[in-house]
Symmetry: C2
Subunit: 256 residues, 2 copies
């Protein structure tokens, strides 16, 4: 039987709300065994950029990362957000280690080719080094991953935190029984968007097709679930979509 590992992804909305972050970190500390935390931080980056007089440009919800903005996200994701989370996990007895893709070359990416839109210094993941992450995890370390990668030629790149979490979970699936948890602003995938308690306990791929067809699943939930099924197809055991303060594996929607 393979050892278990839990990969938790938490977005900017939680990271930047002190009370929510404290609850998330408590929940994360309580997860037994091997674990990895992946964080976002986009709202904080937008805020620091604004203070620096740099305008944030978004296209389809994705940040355009010009050279100035690359400096901002490198500071905010890799420094401010990452190191504060690491220090706070250390205070709870979790031996956290902050990582970007450049650190130990754990995630190599390439600058996204320009088609219709030039996203700038955005990195599409080429590979996650599961062996190095495993070496760290087996020595008792809990990686805390910022949404930054590098191109192997000396340039940092901005990479979506959901992607980092998904690709990391896939790479770890070669070694472990992986549970990937996406923290969400709802209790899970809802059967009725107006009823917060209508959480769908489990979604299989045939269910997903039906839910999309009948409109139960719509909008930003579709790529999130496609991403989840992609992880399942690549060997991740289960994906859970849940609230940031309910990451114990017993709440939310399970995707298998």
């Amino acid at each position: 039987m393979r050892e278990k590992i839990t990969v938790v992804k938490v977005g900017g909305a939680v990271v930047e709300d002190e009370a929510k972050l404290a609850r998330l970190l408590c929940g994360f500390c309580d997860i037994e065994g091997r674990k990895v935390l992946v964080h976002g931080g986009g709202r904080r980056a937008t805020q620091v950029a604004a203070q620096l007089g740099i305008e944030s440009k978004m296209v389809n919800g994705r940040r355009i990362t010009d050279e100035q903005m690359l400096g901002v996200v490198t500071m905010v994701y890799g420094g401010l957000v990452n190191k504060n989370i690491v220090a706070r996990l250390q205070a709870c007895g979790v031996n956290a280690l902050g990582l970007t893709g450049a650190d130990m070359d754990v995630i190599r990416s390439h600058k996204r080719p320009v088609k219709d839109i030039d996203y700038g210094f955005v990195g599409d993941v080429e590979r996650v080094d599961g062996d190095k992450l495993r070496m760290l995890v087996e020595s008792g370390v809990t990686p805390v991953m910022a949404p930054l990668t590098h191109d192997g030629k000396g340039t940092m790149l901005n990479t979506n935190a959901d992607t980092i979490a998904g690709e990391t979970a896939k790479a770890l699936a070669a070694h472990y029984d992986v549970t990937l948890i996406f923290c969400f602003e709802k209790k899970g995938v809802l059967a009725d968007p107006d009823n917060d308690n209508s959480v769908i306990a489990e979604i299989t791929r045939p269910d997903f097709g039906r839910y999309v067809a009948d409109g139960t699943v719509a909008g930003g939930m579709i790529p999130k679930l496609e991403n989840a099924f992609g992880a399942i197809d690549a060997g991740v055991e289960r994906v859970i979509i849940t609230l940031a303060d309910a990451i114990d594996g017993k709440h939310g929607t399970v995707i298998r």
Copy 2:
């Protein structure tokens, strides 16, 4: 015979000058065997703080780190400067890993007690975990250390980069034959401050006493050399003070 390791400390003046940084990184890549890089970044922090409308307050050349400034140095040292160095070393084939003291709890400190001056969120080093650094180094990793530590209670602290380098070298001396190199704006300790080529090849403690008495060594050089002798007393094999583009161990002033 113990294995050798080289700890190189490079200050903000080099880190922020693209041409100087490129030469330093080349020289660092060429150092054979185990190595650690410790960097500063104070000038960049001052610049980013100014852009954010935060005034930098210095007393005796030391930064007063209030809460806002702690955010700035955490961003700039731990993110911007550290990750760019890591990415560039990776591009040269050095398996760099950026670390603050919070990461893997490698450097624990406590907030400096307030006497005459309240330095704010400045950390005085309590201990460097040489065993964890050794574990990383023995797995082929090159630590790149930012001048940040943590108090073990969830708070990052700002710590002088010379101190980080000295304390790290001392902790590694339990395991290795350590060479500690301080990059400097001169070729070494000069016998004649007006003659850049009057480098003193080697200084012992009796020499140091004489040089201070006759005024050859004065000003900021005195604490730097005291720091160097402190490292020697704690088991570091040799300390070298040299130019950032001459860190091959063959140039500068050697303190034994």
